[in-house]
């Protein structure tokens, strides 16, 4: 699979400096994204889902220690510098949850959108503006010429997120890293933005890593979904199987904890305790064991390996014996 992979992350372990010590936030993360594929990355606070995307785009904070290898089209991403790194970020573009935090409020939309084209790719200013206006039209913003003269504060959150998507696509990326791009948006706007992303992905053959806390959203729009807990991948599964037939108790627990829009339940199957970060997780055992209703002595004897079963991967010591026994609906 790694031969055909557009992006190949192998054994990625990241630690960040906190209060004078290096604290692990990612542990041995390996994942591949193939051309045209949409991969969901799901997890709660501290799971490491955003940090994975930042590591891929070389956007980790200063002082981060990184082990493992990230390869894009076979080339080592860690070795890139200067113009190569800028070129890589044009090919692996990122969009964020809060567009306002990632756009300069005193620069016009047009200057923001055309910057990479003009400075990195040598496109003339006039040509860049034409391309930007065309791209705005393809994300559903008409009247592009006027929009290019506007400032971010003149736009709503949903509009600005469309602008960010358009800006990211201008450099013709092969992979889009989308970090909770619709979480701050209203549901009807989310549906709109997701439809735009789906169309553009098809049109440009774009791959996507879609980061979200919403299992249902990931399942609905991604081919495969990767579930993270405490800085580790705990499950990789075809999206259509993830909700109804998960392999890992954590995935099942996440599905069961969400209230059901179709019916009220007397009690939700809450997961006791709270989600942990990698450095908080007990060493040498399954990180989810303290909260897992299926935990047994073997779960705390060693860190389970990511093992293959029924076309998916699961980091659970009891994966085979728990097959078909995991509850995914609320009580």
């Amino acid at each position: 699979m790694s031969d055909a992979a557009l992006l190949d992350v192998a054994g990625l372990t990241v630690a960040l400096p906190v209060e004078g010590e290096q604290r692990e936030v990612l542990r041995d993360v390996s994942l591949q994204i193939r051309p045209g594929e949409a991969v969901g990355l799901v997890g709660e606070s501290g799971s490491g889902k955003s940090m994975t995307a930042r590591a891929i785009d070389r956007l980790l904070p200063r002082g981060a220690t990184v082990r493992g290898r990230i390869a894009f089209r076979g080339a080592d991403v860690a070795a890139l510098s200067g113009s190569q790194l800028r070129g890589y970020r044009n090919k692996v573009a990122m969009i964020f949850q809060d567009p306002r935090a990632h756009v300069n409020p005193v620069r016009r939309i047009g200057d923001f959108m055309t910057e990479a084209l003009r400075t990195n790719l040598g496109v003339s200013a006039a040509d860049a503006r034409t391309r930007a206006a065309d791209m705005l039209a393809s994300v559903g913003i008409e009247d592009g010429e006027r929009r290019l003269r506007q400032y971010p504060h003149e736009m709503s959150g949903g509009m600005l997120q469309r602008v960010m998507i358009a800006a990211a696509l201008l450099t013709e990326p092969a992979l889009l890293l989308a970090d909770e791009p619709t979480t701050a948006l209203d549901v009807t706007t989310q549906a709109e933005v997701m439809a735009i992303l789906a169309e553009l992905r098809e049109q440009y053959g774009l791959s996507m890593l879609f980061i979200t806390h919403d299992l249902e959203l990931a399942a609905a729009i991604c081919d495969r979904t990767v579930v993270m807990y405490a800085g580790q991948i705990v499950e990789v599964r075809a999206s259509e199987l993830l909700h109804g037939d998960p392999l890992h108790p954590y995935t099942a627990a996440l599905a069961a904890a969400r209230p059901d829009i179709g019916q009220q339940s007397s009690r939700l199957r809450a997961i006791s305790g709270r989600p942990l970060s990698a450095f908080e997780a007990p060493p040498g055992e399954c990180a989810f064991a303290p909260r897992c209703p299926h935990a047994q002595p073997q779960c705390v004897a060693a860190v389970p390996e990511l093992t293959e079963l029924d076309g998916g991967l699961s980091r659970c010591a009891r994966v085979a014996e728990l097959r078909g026994q995991l509850e995914t609906t609320n009580a």
Partner: protein
């Protein structure tokens, strides 16, 4: 207040901000121990209604009565304000900004008990322990400052503090929206237990239709300041009548969901509001 009388009555409520009509002719009632959802997206007016009920905004027109007492006009005295606090409390989305960073959970609850009930220290201590226990905070967490607590724990503190005033109505303004899924389920179960034990009424302000289903009996759907639909929560979600409610329902991701793009026009591209 007599039995069977509404605990909250909102009549022809209107709020203007300059030329903008944020809330337009809204009327509803909440019965004791029942829960109402106010559903809508940004700009629907749902949060403005909540702010008027607790007295953070003054209505342009219309009346609000809680426990039979009018609260459309500002309180005239500290006593009046305390009485109102004993009728209605609110829990906001972000406990970071609604808790005093220098107060532990115990101190925050104790202060409310002293102001609202004027109890002696011993009785306050007993009740504080009951309330922190009710929301599932352990002794260490009860003595911790907000910055030492997780988001879910802070939200429990905010709920315990609101309950200390023994309100008849608790307004939950997106109170579980920012919580992780596993923690959100804990807090939703907690809110259901509290309602069973205290007969408090909830007014849930939310955009999350699954949370609305789980916690409320009735719902009103707001769009651009107006009520477009009202009825039993289950009926509204299973068989929405208004085109906007249908659109809202269809926008929720689910297995097999295919997000659709509305036909774009210059008018719809001007803002993100549907219809």
């Amino acid at each position: 207040m007599r039995d069977g009388e509404a605990v909250l009555t909102v009549t022809r409520l209107r709020k203007e901000f300059g030329s903008l009509v944020a809330v337009d002719d809204i009327s509803f009632q909440v019965q004791p121990g029942r829960s109402l959802a106010i559903v809508g997206e940004s700009g629907s007016g749902k949060t403005t209604i909540a702010r008027m009920i607790v007295g953070l905004e003054r209505p342009t027109r219309g009346t609000i009565a809680a426990c039979g007492q009018d609260r459309s006009r500002p309180a005239r005295s500290a006593r009046d304000r305390r009485r109102r606090g004993g009728e209605v409390q609110i829990v906001f989305q972000d406990p970071y900004t609604s808790l005093d960073p220098r107060q532990t959970a115990e101190q925050a609850i104790d202060e409310v008990l002293r102001l609202h009930h004027g109890w002696p220290a011993g009785r306050r201590r007993t009740r504080t322990a009951e309330l922190t226990g009710l929301v599932g905070l352990d002794a260490r967490q009860a003595r911790a400052l907000p910055r030492a607590l997780s988001g879910g724990q802070r939200q429990r503190v905010a709920i315990a503090r609101a309950l200390a005033a023994e309100p008849r109505i608790l307004i939950l303004d997106e109170s579980v929206a920012a919580l992780d899924v596993s923690i959100q389920a804990q807090v939703l179960n907690l809110l259901a237990d509290i309602r069973d034990e205290t007969a408090v009424s909830y007014v849930l302000i939310s955009h999350d239709l699954a949370v609305v289903r789980q916690l409320t009996d009735e719902a009103i759907v707001m769009h651009r300041g107006r009520m477009v639909e009202r009825g039993p929560t289950g009926q509204i979600l299973d068989d929405p009548q208004h085109p906007y409610t249908r659109r809202l329902r269809e926008s929720v991701p689910r297995p097999g969901w295919k997000p659709t793009r509305r036909g774009f026009t210059a008018a719809t591209a001007k803002d993100d509001e549907p219809l």
